[in-house]
């Protein structure tokens, strides 16, 4: 048995040979879900449903299994959640199941906080063999399947249709934008031009031509990729700093500020204000996440999403780059528990919760994308215009950020450089030079500079 000592292996193998009398087993499974609002309640509720199904399966096999599921998602933010999980794991009181970013797999697996679900689950069986292989890959690290993707999403570029009409686009031209973006025919330079027009014509206020996400996140890696940047070298798995792409990416935001289409002090804008503004046409173009659909059409009161907003991949920056989008799935992870059987049951629960029917509940309620092919055969999912269109237009080309121990340091430093050039504290060239020094010092051999 992998990941366990040989002694334990022998012991368990020995035990499994002895037929144990059936006894009632009472078990409490705790689930902690990070970054989850009310709309994401199914991340926990699906485990409850799965517990009922699993208990029924056990009953048929003649075993009594009583599972109590306790969920928690009232964390102050991602930092608080991640600190909570790591400290609990160090103290030996980790929750049985955590829902977190796939980027946590590298550090948490190395630290021994989580166990590989592949030790407990047969990935040749349904629904695991139905999950998109590229999503499964994102929940793997070092060739081991550590978790199961809990949802999928992607981070599109948005256009406000009325504003685009105002600067001279016909309805047909607006509808053709996603294809032009995908083909590399409509680039970030066109975004600069169109947003400038929108500001100059007074259709949107100054600073609202291009209205990016107001805080750090995976989204900014997309703009690096737009200019041909690569995050990880597929051969050596080392992280890559492509200086020219990085500088062009920083420069794009500097240009956007100079053109008056993006505010110099945009970063740090209140998220509540931001959602309200983009959902109601205050910005000409912006970028966000597929799950924003729920917020725009819900709390922010945009009743006609498809009539007012067009969405596409993030446009390419120049000929070297490509139109792209990053998907940043959350994953179900099973933590290291004193009792192997608890880990096994937790693993079985997340397997059941990953079925197309249960996952569609979460996907549609929270406007995320599905994880499995069969979800297109679930009416709830297939009947949802947003889920089906976004899956088709975005998910097939989406890539994820690398699961790598040093990626956290890499992405923090990358954002710091962006912030410095965006706010005018440094030129793009200086920011990249500083970034190179810092990454070389911090990552050493794990970095390739181009």
């Amino acid at each position: 048995m992998k990941h366990l000592t040989l002694g334990t292996t022998a012991l368990l193998a020995g035990l499994s040979a002895i037929a144990l009398p059936a006894a009632a087993k009472d078990l409490t499974i705790t689930v902690w879900a990070g970054g989850s609002s009310d709309a994401d309640a199914f991340r926990i509720d699906n485990i409850k449903t799965a517990a009922e199904i699993l208990s029924a399966e056990y009953a048929i096999m003649g075993e009594e299994l009583n599972i109590t599921v306790e969920g928690r998602r009232d964390f102050g933010g991602w930092e608080e959640f991640k600190q909570g999980v790591t400290l609990a794991a160090e103290a030996g009181t980790a929750p049985s199941i955590v829902v977190s970013s796939h980027l946590d797999i590298a550090p948490w697996s190395q630290a021994g906080y989580i166990v590989p679900v592949e030790d407990y689950l047969d990935f040749d069986t349904f629904p695991l063999n139905d999950i998109y292989p590229n999503l499964l890959e994102i929940a793997a690290y070092n060739g081991i399947q550590w978790g199961i993707p809990q949802d999928a999403e992607s981070r599109p570029f948005f256009f406000w249709k009325d504003t685009m009409r105002g600067i001279g686009y016909s309805d047909a031209e607006i509808a053709a934008l996603p294809e032009r973006v995908a083909a590399g025919d409509y680039t970030l330079q066109n975004v600069l031009e169109d947003a400038t027009k929108a500001v100059d014509l007074g259709l949107v206020e100054k600073g609202y031509g291009f209205y990016p996400r107001p805080s750090n996140g995976p989204d900014y890696a997309q703009f690096y990729q737009s200019f041909g940047g690569m995050l990880q070298d597929p051969e050596t798995n080392k992280l890559v700093l492509d200086k020219q792409s990085m500088q062009e990416f920083y420069q794009f935001f500097v240009d956007a500020v100079e053109a008056g289409i993006t505010r110099k002090n945009h970063l740090g804008t209140d998220w509540g204000q931001w959602y309200n503004e983009v959902a109601n046409g205050k910005a000409a173009t912006w970028h966000g996440g597929t799950w924003h659909y729920a917020r725009y059409t819900g709390k922010e009161g945009n009743d006609d999403f498809f009539g007012t907003i067009e969405f596409s991949l993030i446009p390419s920056g120049d000929a070297n780059g490509r139109a792209n989008t990053v998907t940043h799935p959350l994953v179900y992870l099973v933590t290291n528990q004193a009792d192997d059987q608890d880990e096994e049951i937790a693993a079985q629960l997340i397997k059941i919760a990953s079925g197309p029917r249960l996952n569609s509940l979460h996907a549609i309620k929270s406007a995320h994308l599905g994880i499995g092919k069969q979800q297109s055969n679930i009416e709830l999912y297939a009947g949802d215009q947003w889920a089906s269109e976004a899956t088709e237009r975005l998910l097939s080309t989406a890539n994820a950020q690398p699961n790598h121990l040093s990626y956290g340091a890499y992405s923090e430093a990358m954002f710091k450089g962006l912030e410095a050039s965006w706010t005018g504290a440094q030129s793009a060239a200086d920011a990249v030079a500083d970034l190179e020094t810092e990454l070389r010092a911090k990552l050493g051999d794990e970095l390739i500079v181009r």
Binding site: A17, E90, A106, A111, G112, T236, G268, T423, A425
Partner: protein, 438 residues
């Protein structure tokens, strides 16, 4: 007659000191020792805090390629695979019964599977003696490999024992043990890294700006409030002091939120300035200067209230007769302040300055809430950088060791500054016995 008596050891005195000692040990000594300890480790989320295990993963294999591990060892690790041989079948017979092993021997004897998944699929070929539980099948698959790859071992002994069984050259064992260890190790790299990063100098300069300007504001404004309220009627003075005390007693989050309302481009300043034709702007984050002014004011008002209280009580302690006498001599208010009040406030001012320097060096909560070091790192002070490094990372791998190294620098500066202040204050003289008792 004076006789110098030797100080006697007094158990009662020690008893009275005990609570203070406990507090000093718990809240000063222990954190300092732990900071120093962490700073010389490579501790991060991935190494854990409480120690490590032994695990060889694919990324370790890639690093091993750069060490002196032999090619044969690397090959053995990489391509151990799953072999259906007599030894494995004997282990299967022991675990699942001889009948199962016999059936499996007929199906796959001598086969070699490169991946675990293929081995499990082979086990699914069993018909008469199916292994029904996934878990048992996975356990059975592992009976056919002697690879140490991707297995977690709790102790070095267990790992070395497994290396012996797997038949890897003994010469490479030490290299593999070093590579496989997942816990933290001692290192001086954090300090070297801090010294080499240009950002360190920026953070140090930012801290110098922050501490000196905020301190000047704290003391200056605190003095101004204390002296100006001294000349008001007691009731009015009390009201003013209460109002100026508000920034300190408000929860920081609320207090900073009010600054948002004041300074953001949709806030009060922008709205009022709008009446005079000034375009709305973010008065907190528009430029570095804006951010510094706001950061210094936010912290300054909090600090000034402490100065105000201390200075006010010190002024009240000045004998009223001195002020009355000066009025008889025809001194005006300014002359009273200049020649009577300020000279008597020398010690409170020095105390407040030293206390505030030390607390400002390590304080970052208001900056975190207001600008979070922005715009573009302009207000990123040393303590905030320590926080960001050790406890805030979107990618998940928190750098406890490096963060502690940042903090250690502050500890050293803090201790050195305290010693300097003690000397400057002539602390010995302050606590020495009055001459009259000698």
């Amino acid at each position: 007659m004076s006789r110098i008596s030797k100080p006697r050891f007094n158990w009662l005195g020690l008893g009275f000191l005990a609570p203070a000692m406990i507090v000093v040990v718990l809240f000063f000594l222990a954190p300092v020792i732990m900071t120093a300890f962490f700073a010389f480790t490579n501790m991060s989320t991935s190494t854990g805090i409480t120690g490590g295990d032994y695990l060889l993963s694919q990324s370790d294999l890639r690093s091993l390629a750069n060490t002196k591990a032999s090619a044969a060892t690397l090959d053995a690790l990489e391509n151990a695979g799953y072999r259906v041989d007599d030894a494995g079948l004997a282990r299967l017979a022991e675990a699942q019964g001889p009948a199962t092993a016999d059936e499996f021997r007929k199906l796959h004897e001598g086969d070699l599977f490169t991946s675990r998944r293929d081995m499990e699929r082979a086990l699914k070929d069993l018909r008469q003696h199916r292994i029904r539980s996934t878990r048992d099948r996975k356990l059975a698959a592992e009976l056919f490999t002697s690879s140490v790859m991707d297995q977690r071992f709790d102790t070095e002994e267990a790992f070395r024992a497994a290396l012996m069984t797997s038949g890897i050259e003994a010469a490479d064992h030490d290299t593999l043990v070093d590579e496989a260890y997942t816990g933290w190790i001692w290192t001086t790299k954090n300090i070297e890294l801090l010294a080499s990063l240009s950002s360190s100098w920026r953070y140090a300069m930012n801290t110098a700006i922050y501490v000196s300007f905020t301190l000047a504001f704290n003391v200056g404004f605190g003095l101004f409030l204390a002296i100006s309220t001294f000349y008001l009627s007691p009731r009015v003075a009390a009201t003013f002091r209460t109002i100026w005390f508000l920034p300190r007693v408000l929860p920081p989050v609320l207090y900073v939120l009010m600054w948002y309302w004041l300074t953001w481009d949709t806030g009060i300043i922008s709205t009022l300035a709008g009446y005079f034709g000034v375009a709305p702007r973010n008065w907190m984050l528009d430029t570095g200067t804006n951010a510094w002014v706001v950061v210094i004011l936010i912290n300054g008002f909090v600090g000034a209230s402490l100065g105000m209280i201390l200075f006010s009580s010190a002024i009240k302690a000045i004998p009223a007769s001195m002020l009355h006498a000066s009025e008889v001599d025809g001194a005006n208010r300014w002359q009273q302040v200049r020649y009577i009040i300020l000279p008597q406030l020398r010690w409170p001012i020095l105390f407040t300055s030293s206390y505030q320097t030390l607390s400002l060096l390590t304080s970052f909560e208001y900056i975190l809430l207001a600008t979070d070091g922005g715009p573009g790192g302009t207000t990123e002070v040393w303590a905030l950088a320590a926080y960001h490094t050790a406890l805030n990372n979107y990618g998940g791998n928190l750098q406890y060791g490096l963060g502690a190294a940042y903090a250690l620098v502050l500890v050293v500066i803090g201790i050195v500054t305290s010693l300097l202040y003690l000397r400057f204050f002539n602390f010995r003289e302050l606590v020495s016995k009055p001459r009259i008792e000698q």
